[in-house]
């Protein structure tokens, strides 16, 4: 089996893979503690073992060229190359075996069902608060709670149509949920993009490993959106609402709208008339039945939310209440991915579904509780501190990596507003062999930390993208994988179940 169709067999240098050593005390995604590759990685590893530094370098260079070309394709507004951010890509794929994925998938669906039930409850009767499982103030003071969404009941009770669940793998080899993204999770376009690259670079390996495809995602997303259209509409019009080209995920908005064959619109392209949503076209107004919005709640509707916002469309909330349009995700879903609410998610699964959680979560301490706060503040340098309402890795302080000044600052912030912070133990994230520069113009393989963001779609039925976005922290020892913080990505291969 060949890995690269273009790597020169003759010009092979000393294999670099043999020099790779999985680090102690962490789970290596490709090699077992015994030293050999995991069973499901064996065919790919065997091929990598054959490759020399020059071949790896060539592989990476080809991948970069392809991504750059695709990036230009995405860059419809013709910005300069420097302004366009290319997400660094590592060509060594991350492989997940069929059995592990089966469990993950069941756990993810369970989780998103519970999160949906929670959001519907919070904006409905709020039983979970009245029953005392979650303190009222945790929700009412959450920056993501939207009072203007109370009473809205979307079709099927589905508030969260698209969820991105961030998973990490601990030293024990188990996957843990690190956080949920229930607002406008992004990154799925990288998944599809990365697969296009590996399909070109290593088609044979992909075929031989029986890797499940990811290209069906846009069709699945469209199907989910269509299923959530207001009742009685057989052929709904779907549109994707973007804040515009200055948004960091703009190319994803363009990509998904093109792939789904739906209009990409900005707020100024829309108007609400008689509690219906319309899109302005050259043929006149055309009614929109489902709006996949990629802008935040605050900017969605100036009547109910920020009155100064021009990004959304005035009257949208009333149109939703009138039942003429469905939006995905619904208004106020951020209560479900609030970092403090996260601590209650296992309880939520038991409360709403009567099931035991399939996926464990990373232990989460609420600093609003005085005893907990005292314990954490005593050993602040051993915890990861996160602001409750933020997303995208902003404001996160990693205790063991923070300077004394940063820790002192964090301590002050926690003491000033304890309810705004949570603490988690530092998870020793799993590592994956990753191509890095050897400092002498060549490349070597070195262990780098990875996480996984699978995407779950909730239409009339759940659909889970096989795999998701594997993010890799390219700096040695770094635990931060966010693209905004210098992370890269890998293609994620979920193997098909053996027949």
């Amino acid at each position: 089996m060949e890995l690269s169709t273009t790597a020169s067999q003759a010009g092979r240098q000393a294999p670099v893979f043999a020099a790779y050593r999985p680090p102690a005390g962490m789970y290596d995604e490709m090699f077992s503690a015994a030293g050999g590759p995991h069973r499901w990685c064996a065919p790919v590893a065997a091929n990598l073992l054959e490759m020399g530094s020059a071949e790896f370098a060539s592989l990476r260079a080809q991948a970069e060229r392809m991504l750059l070309r695709m990036g230009v394709t995405f860059n419809v507004y013709g910005q300069t190359e420097g302004a366009e951010r290319i997400f660094p890509f590592d060509p060594i794929p991350r492989i997940i075996d069929a059995e592990t994925w089966q469990t993950l998938e069941a756990g993810l669906i369970q989780r998103v069902r519970a999160l949906n039930a929670f959001v519907a409850d919070i904006y409905g009767e709020a039983h979970i608060l009245k029953d005392g499982l979650i303190p009222h103030d945790l929700i009412l003071e959450s920056s993501q709670y939207r009072r203007g969404a109370v009473g809205i009941a979307p079709p099927g009770g589905t508030f969260i149509t698209v969820a991105g669940i961030d998973l990490v793998r601990g030293a024990d080899g188990r996957f843990y949920v690190l956080e949920d993204n229930a607002r406008t999770p992004s990154g799925v376009s990288y998944v599809i993009e990365n697969r296009l690259v590996t399909t070109r670079l290593m088609p044979a390996a992909l075929r031989a490993s029986r890797v499940r495809s990811v290209e069906g995602y846009p069709a699945d997303l469209l199907a989910s959106l269509v299923e959530l259209a207001p009742g009685g509409i057989s052929r709904p019009t779907v549109a994707l609402l973007t804040p515009g080209p200055f948004n960091s995920a703009f190319f994803e908005h363009v990509f998904l709208s093109q792939q789904m064959g739906v209009e990409l619109v900005e707020g100024r392209d829309l108007v609400c008339v008689d509690h219906k949503l319309w899109m302005k076209t050259v043929y006149g107004l055309r009614q929109v039945h489902v709006l996949y919005r990629r802008i935040d709640d605050d900017y969605l509707d100036a009547v109910v939310f920020r009155p100064d916002s021009m990004l959304g469309v005035a009257g949208l909330t009333a149109a939703i209440r009138a039942g003429s349009v469905t939006i995905a995700n619904g208004i106020g879903t951020g209560v479900a991915d609030d970092k403090a609410v996260f601590a209650y998610t296992p309880e939520m699964i038991r409360y709403y579904l009567g099931e035991q959680p399939i996926l464990p979560i990373v232990e989460t301490h609420l600093l609003r509780e005085p005893e907990v706060r005292a314990t954490v503040l005593r050993d602040l340098d051993r915890y990861v501190i996160k602001p409750t309402g933020a997303s995208g890795g902003y404001g996160v302080v990693i205790g063991p990596r923070a300077s004394d000044a940063e820790l002192a600052q964090t301590r002050k912030q926690i003491e000033a507003a304890p309810a705004n912070y949570i603490a988690q133990p530092v998870v020793s994230l799993s590592v994956h062999p990753t191509l890095v520069d050897d400092g002498a113009g060549g490349v070597v393989l070195a262990p780098r930390h990875v996480d996984l963001r699978p995407f779950v779609l909730m239409g009339a039925r759940p659909r889970v993208l096989a795999g998701g976005l594997t993010r890799v922290a390219l700096r040695e020892g770094s635990l931060v994988v966010n693209s905004s913080q210098g992370g890269g990505s890998k293609d994620t291969w979920v193997l098909d179940a053996p027949c």
Partner: protein, 301 residues
Amino acid sequence: MRFRVRHVTRFGYDEAAYESHNEVRLRPRESPGQRTIGFRLEVIPRAAVIDYRDSFGNFVHALSVHEPHRELVVVADSLIERAAPRPLDAPRHPFGEFLAGDALRSQLEYDFLHPSRYVPFSEPLKRLFWMARPRMNEQVADYVCRIVGWIRGQFAYEPGTTNVRSDLNHILHAGGGVCQDFAHLSIGILRLAGVPARYVSGYLAPTLEPGNRRPLGEQASHAWLEAMIPDAGWIGFDPTHGGRAGDHHLRVAVGRDYADVPPITGIYRSVGATQTMRVSLDISEPEDSASSPLDPGALQQ
């Protein structure tokens, strides 16, 4: 007693307005001792109207007016039946005992025990509270009565010193204000004392000879508060008049403060610069439904 309230709001624009979207809180909510027998909302020019209940249970009508217009008129016609408020004969609870249940209450009535936009727990408010704090052997209902009377005595009723966007620090600074300020200030003190308190917007019907009607301008629009009294529930108090709310207090909406219950709020597009608003209120006491100029059968129930 029955009251008919005709609440007319006229917006005028110097240039045509269009794509106008408004949320209206004008339909009186049902509550112990008060029933809405009929309600009709009329909008000129033609508007698409939907209604829903907000998070506090208030009626909201959402209006959508698309066509260009120089004037927007919203007419809310209500026929309300109001009974005299019940005497406070519930079991009496001294403050010390009341505060023992604080932990649970601070969860269940969270919204009405914590600061809100117009009721910030500012230093001046805390100082005022310290002057008027409850005695541990004082009954909760007596304390609330004492506070609304005290506030009436300490501050002057002075229209024009504050505006609808003033929080309670304005009246504390100015020494006077209007019903909205009196309500916010009393609510702040009660919340600091641990008594759940909420803002009520509505009308104060004038005491008139039957059949005698006169235009009221905006004067009859009123605001007061409700405090949660143990075993009695939400009881109305009017700090502008220094006592309990009576059978002429007609409730429309409740919330944490004024920000939750503006009668009409919304946005529109226009190349023009100015918008004027005129409100006229007419409250009458029809002697019986047959002689009422507003036939209840014709009302949107």
